[in-house]
């Protein structure tokens, strides 16, 4: 019973991927030869690598710098900043990109005119391309640095407190201790955060499209939509999977054996902080300007746009995407949560290697860019339809109902649901299960009476993360939602990117940002609450 269920969920993820892999080994089409031959593939790979490198570096500087500032320094508003610096996470990357649209007109255009006058049209064209890359990297890093910030803060503040005290007792100065003990200890956590940033860069569609940067994700959609060339799209997806694989391997190598575990007593905050006027003002200045550029400025831009937008839009027009987003988030969120609960409990009662592999398999989808998931799902459904010589499946999954979209969300977002539940399960001592069994309850009875109530907090946390993730998800929703369903994400994209009606588009964008902020605040509260009854 448990086995069949878990295997089914894993198959849902494995089959589409298998279809992609199988296609890779078939003879390539002529278009693919051209994609490779004319250097198109090279362009996609180059764009992807530049974005990965640039965003990874800049987000690390932002994230580690901010974490360092709020843990090591004491300055006015430190407690406020330590929460507020997570808010940029609530802004979808494409919304941040649209909000930074003003930079195109107020910064880029005068600069390009000046370059053309000074160095000629060719130089301007080059400079324009570089400018787009720089702006895209800046915008992406502003939204994605919180992943590194959160990881680094946990690394600095919670793990290192006791070690730093120890280092000082061994005769090192506070500063030496922070650099020689604090930073290295936080490294594995920081690399874990960086991994998430890089995966998000691989996944990004809206912002890349907006800045005209040709990444593999963009390439997959180009081949699929503009060239109607499934074969090349799948092959590009294969290349994207290779890059993701390389990133994960790099993370594993970089972490090496250094997965530090804090001793119980070591989870202590830094008691004493260095105080110099220069350092304090630097820390304050860094946090304040980061928050300004990442959150306040784009929010201000959106609000300015919304002032005009609100006059042009009727409330009814807004309610429809709100309803669409809410119903998709609730529906998919619950389906994914129940599946994740099932997997987590199955892994607990059958703690063997096979079940571990199954659950790792279900987590795989999170590493895959949305575009790859889209291609994998559509092509495997097409393959099944081809076998059955009937289009009914496509209709049922993607046109008549949102089942296909929910499945795609499940493939992509099983990890944010499963990971906190597995951690929560690990926190429930095995003797609880045994005590419940000895007191005469079956495994189902134990699940409902012991595990489910004890998992309350991780469940709530997973639900909020899922909700926010699904709300702002763009590529899957864009392609796989039934024709009559409009969500906040698709409407924002449609109005702000396709139709360039920034004022109207700012309204759904603002709703997305605000609900994201609410999610961040609730999560923050949740994490700080003690996990006892």
């Amino acid at each position: 019973m448990w086995w069949i269920g878990a295997t089914f969920i894993a198959l849902l993820i494995a089959v589409p991927l298998a279809v992609v892999v199988v296609t890779l080994f078939e003879a390539p089409s002529d278009v693919w030869r051209e994609v490779v031959g004319y250097g198109v593939l090279g362009t996609y790979v180059k764009g992807t690598l530049i974005m990965l490198l640039g965003t990874g570096l800049l987000a690390s500087v932002f994230g580690i710098g901010a974490a360092w500032a709020v843990t090591v320094w004491e300055f006015p508003g430190r407690r406020f900043f330590s929460l507020a610096l997570m808010f940029p996470m609530a802004i979808p990357t494409y919304v941040e990109a649209y909000a930074y649209d003003f930079a195109k007109y107020e910064l880029r255009d005068p600069l390009m005119l000046w370059i053309r006058e000074r160095f000629g049209a060719e130089a301007m064209s080059d400079a324009n391309g570089i400018f787009n890359y720089v702006l895209a990297i800046f915008v992406m890093a502003l939204v994605l640095y919180p992943y590194i910030y959160i990881a680094a803060r946990i690394g600095f503040a919670e793990i290192s407190g006791a070690y730093i005290e120890n280092s000082r007792l061994l005769g090192r100065s506070l500063w030496r201790s922070l650099f020689s003990v604090g930073l290295p200890l936080a490294r594995p956590a920081i690399i874990g955060g960086l991994l998430l940033v890089l995966l998000e860069v691989m996944n990004e569609y809206g912002a890349m499209l907006h800045y005209g940067i040709e990444t593999l994700t963009i390439g997959i959609f180009n081949q699929w939509y503009d060239w109607k060339d499934t074969d090349s799209a799948i092959r590009l997806a294969g290349v994207a999977m290779l890059v993701v694989f390389a990133i994960i391997v790099a993370e594993m190598v970089l972490r090496g054996r250094s997965r530090f575990h804090a001793h119980h007593g070591a989870r202590r905050n830094l008691a004493e902080k260095p105080k110099t006027a220069f350092g304090t003002s630097m820390a304050f200045g860094f946090c304040a300007s980061l928050l300004f550029f990442a959150f306040l400025l784009p929010l201000w831009q959106l609000l300015k746009l919304a002032r005009y937008g609100i006059e042009k839009v009727q409330v009814g027009e807004l309610l429809q995407p709100v309803f669409g987003s809410l119903s998709m988030a609730v529906l998919a969120g619950l389906v994914i949560l129940i599946a994740a609960l099932f997997l987590a409990y199955a892994a607990r009662i059958f703690p063997g290697l096979a079940m571990q592999l199954l659950s790792k398999m279900c987590m795989l989808g999170y590493a895959l860019p949305g575009a790859v998931v889209v291609i994998a799902m559509l092509s495997s459904v097409a393959a099944i339809s081809g076998l059955m010589a009937d289009d009914a499946l496509t209709t049922i999954l993607f046109t008549a109902t949102p089942i296909g979209l929910v499945m795609a969300y499940a493939v992509r977002f099983m990890t944010p649901a499963l990971a906190p539940l597995e951690a929560g399960m690990a926190g429930i001592h095995r003797s609880m299960d045994e005590a419940s069994r000895i007191l005469g309850r079956s495994s189902w009875g134990s699940f409902f009476r012991i595990h489910l109530p004890l998992l309350r907090l991780p469940l709530l946390g997973a639900l909020i993360v899922l909700f926010v993730d699904i709300l702002k998800e763009l590529p899957l929703t864009l392609v796989l939602s039934p024709p009559n369903v409009e969500t906040l994400a698709t409407q924002t994209f449609g109005l702000m990117h396709k139709e360039e009606r920034l004022a109207e588009g700012s309204l759904p964008a603002l709703i997305l940002v605000l609900s994201g902020c609410a999610g961040v605040i609730i999560l923050h509260r949740l994490i700080r609450r003690p996990l006892r009854a």
């Binding site: 045994e434 069994r437 000895i438 309850r441 004890l454």
Partner: protein, 362 residues
Amino acid sequence: MCGSDYLTSPDPPATEGVSNHMSESLEIEGISKCFPRTDRPALDGVSIVLGDADIMALVGESGSGKTTLLRIIAGLEQPDTGTVAIGGELVCADGYSVPPEQRHIGFVFQDYALFPHLNVRKNLLYGLHRISQRTKREERVAEIVTLAGLDGLEKRFPHELSGGQQQRVALARALAPRPSFILLDEPFSNLDPMRKDALRDELRRIVKSSATSALIVTHDTRDALAVADTLAVLKEGKLQQVGSPERVYFHSTSEYTASLFGKVNRIPCQLLEGKDAPHGAPDILVRPADLEITQEGSGGGHIVGKVIASNFRGDFHEVTLECADIAAGSGDTTCVTIYVGADRKPALGDTVTVRRSRREGD
């Protein structure tokens, strides 16, 4: 015998322990268990009989297999061979195993495993779902609350209780469904050492007044001696000795058991003229408490030694003597430990004579 009236070699191994086959709560026979990727079996042919309303302590060092045995009895692990019978009914025999929820036993976990989201009353109610009537369930909870001295704590959550209170709740929860017997895994290891003795006596009182038999696993021999009616000693998966605490303590059948329960002196012997032993003269083992200072001077069975160390232990002094040439002609010196009353502490360098004290039943 080695030329002495008093110093005797250990008793020959005797099959002692529980011989009453009328009312066993638990009978296990020839249990063996080998975990994968280990060269030594965790349990090797262990057989134990637990009588009705009897408290048995299973003693052994960590790694001796005692917890594994407990988990096999509870049905949380399966043995490779052997049988387990509860109340005369077979619950585990080659390939056949009754799941833990149907064995009707109580289990007190080392960490107590109190459900953190349920208060004391609900923890106690948890195992009573087979009682269909609500009032009956509440009655039983009230009964067990009184028995375990938990009055006034019913609304508290586990993290709001002291270690001793948590233990009593765990014990009460195990006893509430009136199990055939209860198993306790290291119940004393999480207790405040200052209050441990009192809590241990309380535990014995509760178990005794519930008239349930109990099997207690512990590595602390002091606890085992104080709490149990019967001791079973386990070493490297093999049962060494079963018997009453006094018997196991003073008449250990092996040097391992003897030294497990406290300090023991190994004293060389010499054969009497005309006697023969296959492996030469044996050493004998004598507890410090079995030796006393005598004024009678030397003679048969008396040992003379010089005081080389003396440690104050509260109620007594632990005095170490250096004795030359006990087994005449061997030329070895032997260290002998004796306990001396706090008021009669000998000075370092004194020469004293000791002999084995007489005990009833010798």
